[in-house]
């Protein structure tokens, strides 16, 4: 029963950690706007955590530049299990307009398994909420699979 409780809670209280991997800030602003009174993601239990150790969901924005790649990977590895990786915007999924640049190492999925992609440039807050809700669901499943 306790396990069930934990599993249920995991889906209801996903905390985010946001990594900017060279983003133009468009997605970052949209992510913040998700937490504003207009969209208020807190009513679904989302919260922006300050440290990767607290986070359940890692939101990566930006095309993962060569400079940021080791930092992104290190930070992601520091997130405790179960964790979920969400790429936000087109950049981390493909590189978008920066693809082929000498400084871009992306896409992110080359290095870590990505759970949810939220497309858009930048995605609308509603889309972000959709993506995060999907991530929360995946998180719950992952928790259910854990011992």
């Amino acid at each position: 029963m306790f396990k069930k409780l934990i599993e249920e809670s995991t889906g209801r209280s996903p905390w985010l950690f946001h990594i900017n991997a060279g983003s133009c800030n468009g997605c970052d602003i949209e992510l913040v706007s998700v937490l504003t009174p207009r969209y208020d993601a807190e009513r679904l239990g989302f919260k922006l955590a300050g440290s990767p150790r607290h986070a359940d969901i890692v939101v990566v924005t930006g095309p993962v530049t060569k400079q940021s790649l080791p930092r992104v990977l290190r930070t992601i590895s520091q997130v405790p299990e179960p964790r979920c990786i969400v790429t936000m915007g087109s950049c981390p999924q493909s590189g978008n307009v920066f693809r082929g640049s000498y400084s871009v190492a992306g896409p992110l999925s080359k290095y870590v398994p990505v759970d949810v992609d939220v497309a858009g440039c930048a995605p609308k807050p509603e889309a972000v909420i959709d993506g995060l809700a999907l991530a929360a669901k995946i998180l719950k499943e992952k928790r259910g699979r854990m011992k």
Partner: protein, 212 residues
């Protein structure tokens, strides 16, 4: 040290929240919002313009040669690479690309973010061998015959019967010598400005500009 907004805070305690209750209450994107791409393969002529103008390299075209000699042309729009600038839709003369207000572009697999469409196009007319059908041949000749002759001064000339008025030549013309009106379907060359560089002929997707 003073605390502003106390009154507001207390009054808001008893007023309705200003939240958009999104997942419960669906919300429409604002008019003009460019969301998920819808591709109409039946309108497409596979001119490739969209592919060229796409800054995010989101559009790819694949050609599958069918057994009956025709080609199955598939255009793939990767939403995960798209910047939603709508240049492709702008350039599409056939209006085969459409940006909708649908913003639910969330996927767990990369596959889900691909918009695909394919159509079957007759195989391109190859230079007929000797035993080719005469009417076909004549048609080919006709088109070429109806085409304009190259000018002698080296400046470009446009075969307006084939031109789609995509304006790419005008955009690329370094001397700004070309004016293309899409609605009036005119193609005019300012001969004074033209430098005979041949850029327009190079970029023309329909290869209907001929340099002298």
């Amino acid at each position: 040290m003073d605390f502003p907004f106390i009154k507001e805070a207390i009054s808001q305690l008893f007023s309705k929240s200003s939240c958009a209750m999104y997942p419960a209450v669906p919300s429409e994107a604002a008019p003009g919002y460019r969301g998920r791409i819808v591709y109409h393969p039946e309108l497409c002529i596979a001119c490739g313009m969209c592919e060229r103008v796409c800054s995010g390299n989101a559009i790819s075209r694949s050609v599958e040669h069918l057994e009956d000699g025709r080609d199955k042309i598939t255009l793939t729009f990767n939403l995960g690479s798209c910047t939603f600038c709508a240049t492709c839709a702008d350039f599409c003369t056939k209006h085969a690309i459409e940006f909708t207000g649908d913003y639910h572009m969330v996927a767990t697999k990369e596959e889900d973010l691909l918009v695909r469409g394919s159509f079957i196009k007759a195989a391109p007319k190859k230079k007929a061998p000797a035993a080719a059908k005469p009417e076909n041949c004549s048609a080919q000749v006709q088109t070429e015959a109806s085409g304009v002759k190259p000018r002698e001064d080296g400046k470009p000339v446009n075969d307006q019967s084939r031109c789609v008025y995509c304006t790419l030549c005008a955009k690329k013309c370094p001397a700004e010598a070309l004016t293309v009106d899409r609605t009036a379907k005119t193609w005019t060359l300012d001969e004074d400005k033209c430098v005979s560089c041949g850029t327009c002929a190079q970029v023309c997707p329909k290869n209907c500009i001929i340099m002298g």
